[in-house]
Point group: C2
Chain length 369, copies 2
């Protein structure tokens, strides 16, 4: 069990080894059913029980209020960039906060369906901050306000969601939380819709989670494909079209794994969050004290999940990556738009993995500093 | 290996046991990479090699011409009901042939995006025939002609695709082949677009295949979500958004399994087709000679994949299903809109499974006839 390398991919990304082992063990026969989960009718009692438990466990982990629907969809956050305004904009105005590559892409796609106001942007500082909500130029009549609460590429995280009501807006807040969902609690009193692709903290690529307050259902534009009409999906328990059943099953195993986690007195998501805080602290501290590595995101906006960093010279990058691979530290190359390196340290990355990375970082700095 | 029950689900459906065994064996470590396929970046060399091989093998199996693109998408055939007219209709007219529940649903959704002509329908005979192409009232200026070449619910299959040119239409033929793709060859000289959900003959739910002639790319309506614009998907090798990587991997294993099949002198898809012909003959012959069971589809339109059948009285249905389950014959209940029973006998259903069903059918008829 300890010989697996540590995988720092930004997504699809590391999954808990226990989850993979259980999926492998159940592959040919799920719990005496004689079927693989892949082979089950989505309308049969076996799969319905898997889907219901996955939803119940997610609701438990994230404390999702009863007046929010959980939708299991397809297409990832990039498809949601269109599906969201199709469902929520009513062809009017929507406010977007730009904090990095993903929110930039979201607001661009939304322009196909509604008037978009970019009410704040950190483009001026190279996507390394979160603009203070008090500076956001919110519209009077926005159908919603969209933020990306963790920018996977830039490594910028909102550690507190804005209280739109306090800022004078009645619009629902929409968060693209793809790359930090289930890494920390969500304050639902501030959120109308949370969505995300599964392939970072939840499970296999091809599953999209949409968690939506019920009063926001039922306003899709006429051109919305029926399969992507949130109300239709909600009314059919995510089975209007055949859902990505195996991905839902693996996500369910991940939810059970989250519930089993313990960290001192803490359990479940609280244990996960404490571990994520400790992992991020260990890694950033290494960078801050090294005198060798650089990070660009301001400390208060640093992501706990995605950590871009830079060597003193790009000429060292290949040697760094080769040495990392030799030590079983995989997929550390940075996104092409940012350059340098990136360590994604999602829920399933153990502290031991971050420690192994830090040991290598220190060693590499000693040898090349 | 022989103790697994036989699973007659209409989809998600039975997969080859060898494929499931390989997926289980590779779950924690794909070919020495130290990663599960679920954990791989879709842009890493490992997954790229999986995706390229899957496409190459599918091209080999189906003899897909070089001027057709293979797209790995999400949302299933139900999402394609919208995505197709968004990409192909140019807001003009499209011709639809109705042969059952799925094509009925397709033409209804298309009306959101274009003018739809139902150029032929078998509604009058309860979806039990394929209207002769010579009777289709094709439009002069249709952007495309859509058929469902195998109706999963009604059990109606087109055993020959129409030659639209010979019928005086210059429109490309679009086939929804979800439930018989890779069960027989496709005559590409007659087809512009073939699409289908993977969860019948190909792999896990959540993957959609679209095979499209290149000249049909690039005509998407402005409201098309970018993630579902065929040209964008094609230009980005199906990686504009994160594709359903694990489902693609399993599909790839299924393609390799098809290539390995032998039946006498035949190999690959030809072997698969010969076996499918034999399986369907065995099953229909049982019904035709039983004097007990009834089928409704006319012989020339009978599906090789999905076989609805009826007991003399619905009061026997529960006893039939219970007895079947005891013998390890699973998921035989018919679709609610058709009633009765349905045996789906996809590629991965061995002849032994159909023989076991026939033995049970004969036994049940003897005891209740």
């Amino acid at each position: 069990m300890t010989t697996r390398p540590f995988n720092f991919s930004a997504g699809p990304a590391v999954l808990p080894e226990e989850v993979l082992a259980q999926a492998a063990a159940e592959m040919l026969d799920w719990q005496g059913s004689g079927m693989s989960v892949m082979e089950m009718s989505h309308r049969g009692k076996e799969f319905i029980s898997i889907a219901r438990r996955a939803e119940a466990d997610l609701r438990d982990i994230l404390a999702i209020p009863a007046n929010y629907k959980v939708l299991f969809m397809q297409g990832g956050a990039i498809a949601e960039n269109a599906i969201l305004p199709l469902n929520l904009s009513r062809g009017g105005r929507a406010d977007y906060v730009v904090t990095g590559s993903w929110s930039l892409k979201s607001q661009k796609e939304a322009r196909k369906y509604c008037d978009v106001s970019v009410v704040a942007t950190n483009e001026g500082d190279g996507h390394t901050t979160v603009p203070s909500p008090s500076t956001w130029a919110l519209s009077n009549q926005a159908a919603y306000v969209h933020v990306c609460s963790n920018e996977t590429i830039n490594g910028v995280e909102m550690h507190e969601l804005p209280d739109l009501k306090a800022l004078g807006s009645n619009a629902p807040l929409v968060i693209d939380c793809s790359s930090h969902i289930a890494s920390r609690p969500i304050d639902w009193s501030r959120v109308g819709v949370a969505y995300g692709g599964a392939q970072k903290n939840i499970g296999p690529a091809g599953l999209t989670l949409v968690i939506i307050r019920e009063d926001l259902l039922g306003h899709a534009l006429p051109v919305t494909p029926t399969a992507f009409d949130y109300k239709v999906v909600a009314d059919n328990d995510s089975m209007y079209n055949t859902p990505p059943t195996y991905a839902m099953y693996v996500a369910g195993l991940v939810f059970q794994w989250i519930q089993r986690q313990r960290e001192g007195e803490l359990s479940g998501l609280a244990a996960i969050e404490a571990r994520n805080v400790a992992k991020a602290r260990l890694l950033y501290e290494c960078f801050d004290t090294s005198g060798f590595y650089a990070t660009k995101v301001v400390p208060e906006a640093r992501s706990r999940m995605n950590v871009p960093f830079f060597l003193p010279s790009d000429s060292l990058n290949d040697a760094f990556l080769a040495g990392a691979k030799e030590r079983g530290l995989l997929q550390l190359k940075g996104h092409k738009s940012v350059g340098g390196m990136r360590a994604s340290i999602y829920n399933a990355m153990p502290l031991a993995g971050v420690q192994a990375l830090v040991d290598y970082l220190n060693d590499f700095a000693r040898r090349h500093g």
